[in-house]
């Protein structure tokens, strides 16, 4: 029971990170119908940006508990800004010119962009793992069993839950209650009609990429805080898992992406706790294949009806 509870906490933490990345996939897919293959690598880029921001701040002001809080906030803000800038530039350069091109062109371009980002970071920052100084230590002991196993909720896990919850609330408000969100939903339904009615489609798509990137960058900062290490090829596997989460939740659906992320995170940690840790990545891939075959519309998605 204690082990299960601890794994559940870990799973939900991991799931929050996947959920934040998954929103970027699901929104971009909803609005322009492409799988943004480079999204996972953007997550990795933002983790690197956060690492460097953290190092700059601590180099300037020294390391003390007060500075670390400031540094974390700086990481979040700088990370969001830079990641948004990256995604905006990527969309501008690599995806926008392809909007009228053939069906697979944006996906191929995104795969190229993903390879480009990975190798750019590898060359610019080196191929080694980058460990960070520990940012948040300690935690709350929730439960102690007679056998001595303690269920612990680490402060960094609390940080991840809180940050995820706040961001989702803000984000949900934007999508459902502002004119920007309305424009987004209009573009999702019919881009040409939205343009005819005066919605600036290009701008709306750009903003969608920016929001997706900002959320992915929060996930990147959380990843850095949680694992304390980042490497240039850390984007691929979380990216595929987050995509799995988006598909599982129903692609195009925002709550679906979060639910999918949490599910994938919990399934993965349970799998490694009770079955085999070697095959933990296989678990996510198997879920992806099974969901796509038997439930392609996901948990909350709408069935994909193709009009001729």
């Amino acid at each position: 029971m204690e082990v299960f509870l601890q794994q559940l906490i870990n799973g939900v933490t991991l799931g929050s990170i996947y959920g934040l990345i998954a929103i970027g996939y699901t929104m971009v897919f909803g609005i322009i119908g492409m799988v943004n293959f480079a999204h996972g690598d953007l997550f990795m880029v933002s983790a690197f940006v956060a690492l460097i921001t953290f190092l700059v701040v601590t180099a300037l002001f020294g390391v003390s508990s007060g500075v670390i809080v400031v540094a974390l906030i700086a990481c979040l803000i700088v990370g969001m800004f830079i990641a948004s800038l990256y995604n905006w530039a990527i969309e501008r350069i690599a995806y926008r010119p392809l909007r009228g091109s053939f069906r697979l062109a944006p996906l191929i371009s995104a795969i190229g962009m993903s390879i480009l980002l990975v190798n750019y970071v590898q060359i610019a920052q080196g191929a080694r793992n980058k460990p960070t100084p520990p940012m948040l230590r300690g935690g709350l002991t929730l439960m102690e069993s007679p056998t001595g196993f303690t269920v612990e909720l680490a402060y960094k896990q609390i940080l991840i839950f809180v940050a995820t919850a706040i961001l989702l609330a803000v984000f949900w408000y934007i999508v459902s209650h502002t004119s920007l969100g309305r424009a987004q939903r209009a573009c999702e339904q019919d881009r040409r009609m939205a343009a005819l009615l005066g919605v600036d489609v290009d701008r709306t798509i750009s903003i969608t990429f920016i929001i997706g990137a900002a959320l992915a960058s929060v996930a990147g900062v959380m990843y850095l805080v949680y694992y304390g290490v980042v490497s240039y090829n850390d984007g691929f596997i979380p990216g595929v898992k987050a995509f799995t989460a988006a598909v599982l939740g129903g692609i195009g659906s925002l709550p679906g992406a979060v639910i999918g992320g949490l599910l994938i995170g919990v399934i993965e940690t349970m799998w490694s706790a009770y079955f085999s840790i070697d095959y933990k990545d296989v678990a996510a891939f198997v879920i992806l294949i099974v969901v796509l075959i038997f439930m392609p519309q996901g948990i909350l998605g709408k069935p994909d009806v193709e009009k001729v």
């Binding site: 880029v45 830079i82 069906r103 697979l104 371009s109 990975v118 460990p131 296989v282 294949i289």
Partner: protein, 449 residues
């Protein structure tokens, strides 16, 4: 727009400077964290920041002047006429093909003559055999991506199936390469069908992701199932022999049997011609299949799936055949790879390998056999050539080989922007009246199948 006289835009210097300045500013944001600073681990395990202002300002200058030049060129260039006919390269494609085959066929002889026995070893093995393996893989994947229009991101899985088939059969049952070859093809095709059967009803992008997941699963199984595959340590496989005669310096070796002096060149040349004929076989089968009803169905499927369905083509079976045949050639290539390396480890079958093969097909022009050849020579030969530039290392402070995949990724993006149909983008009609007229791919309107 096209009917009215296009007013030639004047070059607006102020606007251009503003635009270039804007992109430079974007560059500051993009490169300040990742290029200006580098996070490095110092000796005492602490992270330290290294500052690289030279590189950073160099990149910014590159963006500024690059953008300015782009704008200048856009303003001064004559408005491009939409091309109706085939391009120069396409016009000469029929005559280029035999020349290409001849050149590839004579390559070992030429390099022997030019570089001598010891020197030719590197050229034939590192360049020739390597490029031909990728040509074969590219042609195999071309059936799936180029002809049938199914984006397969896990093609390397079938390559892995072929390799492991060879290694395991040869190790446990003593099968020879030629016996393993058909078995590897059949097994790879079988896996192709097994994977394809459930997933081929999916839409294009979903299919791509599922094949990617499948490729990764095969990789992880190869990595973790240590009893069967040897895990990360890999598995050794016997090296190729000449129909039972090994290429060794022993008395029963190839050189001794034929009364020749022993050199490793024979083995390399034999490898070269084996993969050369395997690749030619792939091309031959592809060209023949294109004329069969199934080949026409593939191309029709690529252009418009819904139209295909309404004309009574069984899309699932058609896709499945493409998948299986493409996988079969991947299996052949994998079997050859095992026999060439003599050692197989899961690291040869990572996603990046699939991406590289896909890049070859995409850059070459989907569906074009010659394009795949050109793209493999450029990509694989080019990255092998980068190794020759090691002497540059002190000047750029980096190994030039590291830039290989960066260039590949950049190439894929640029190709999609400028020539989405690839280097060679002809669409040759398979049925024609009196005269075969190939048209430029950019004129082919595509359905949204």
């Amino acid at each position: 727009m096209r009917d009215t006289a296009v007013v030639k835009p004047r070059f607006d210097a102020v606007a251009a400077l503003k635009d270039a300045g804007f992109w430079t500013l974007v560059g500051v944001g993009l490169f300040l964290p990742l290029i200006y600073f580098q996070a490095n681990q110092a000796m005492n395990n602490e992270m330290v920041l290294v500052q690289r202002p030279g590189l950073f300002f160099g990149m910014l200058a590159f963006i500024f002047f690059g953008r300015l030049l782009m704008l200048l060129r856009a303003a001064t260039r004559r408005p491009a006429k939409p091309r109706t006919g085939p391009s120069l390269l396409q016009r000469f494609e029929p005559s280029v093909q035999p020349v290409m085959i001849l050149l590839l066929g004579l390559f070992p002889v030429l390099s022997l003559l030019l570089a001598g026995q010891a020197g030719s070893l590197k050229w034939v093995d590192n360049f020739g055999v390597q490029i031909l393996i990728y040509i074969m893989l590219g042609w195999g994947l071309n059936i799936v991506v180029g002809l049938a229009g199914l984006l397969d991101l896990g093609y390397v899985a079938f390559y892995a199936v072929g390799s492991y088939t060879y290694a395991l059969l040869a190790q446990h049952f003593g099968f020879s390469f030629w016996l393993c070859l058909p078995v590897a093809g059949v097994l790879a095709a079988f896996w192709g069908i097994l994977l394809g059967f459930p997933v081929l009803r999916l839409r294009g992008d979903y299919l791509a992701i599922v094949t990617l997941a499948f490729g990764e699963i095969i990789y992880m199984v190869a990595l973790n199932w240590t009893d069967f595959t040897g895990g990360g340590a890999g598995i050794s496989a016997p090296k190729i022999d000449f129909f039972g005669i090994p290429f060794t310096a022993n008395d029963d070796g190839f050189a001794a049997v034929f009364g020749l002096e022993f050199t490793p060149v024979y083995r390399t040349i034999f490898l070269y011609y084996t993969i050369f004929f395997l690749a030619l076989f792939t091309a031959f089968v592809t060209m023949r299949l294109k004329r069969l009803p199934i080949g026409r169905a593939w191309e029709a499927l690529r252009e418009d799936e819904i139209a295909c369905q309404s004309l009574g083509i069984n899309t699932t079976n058609t896709k499945l055949t493409a998948f299986a045949i493409g996988a079969m050639f991947g299996g052949f290539a994998g079997c050859f790879f095992g026999a060439r390396q003599g050692f197989i480890s899961p690291e040869s079958f990572r996603f990046i390998e699939s991406a590289l093969i896909l890049a070859i097909v995409v850059l070459g022009g989907m569906g074009s056999l010659l394009g795949v050849v050109l793209a493999s020579i450029a990509l694989i030969g080019g990255s092998e050539l980068l190794r020759e530039f090691e002497f540059l290392k002190p000047y750029i402070g980096d190994d030039p080989v590291k830039y290989r995949m960066l260039i590949v990724g950049l190439g894929m993006v640029m190709m999609m922007i400028w020539r989405p149909r690839g280097l060679i983008s002809t669409r040759e009609p398979t049925i024609f009246l009196k005269k075969r007229k190939s048209i430029s791919g950019s004129l082919v309107k595509e359905g949204h199948g």
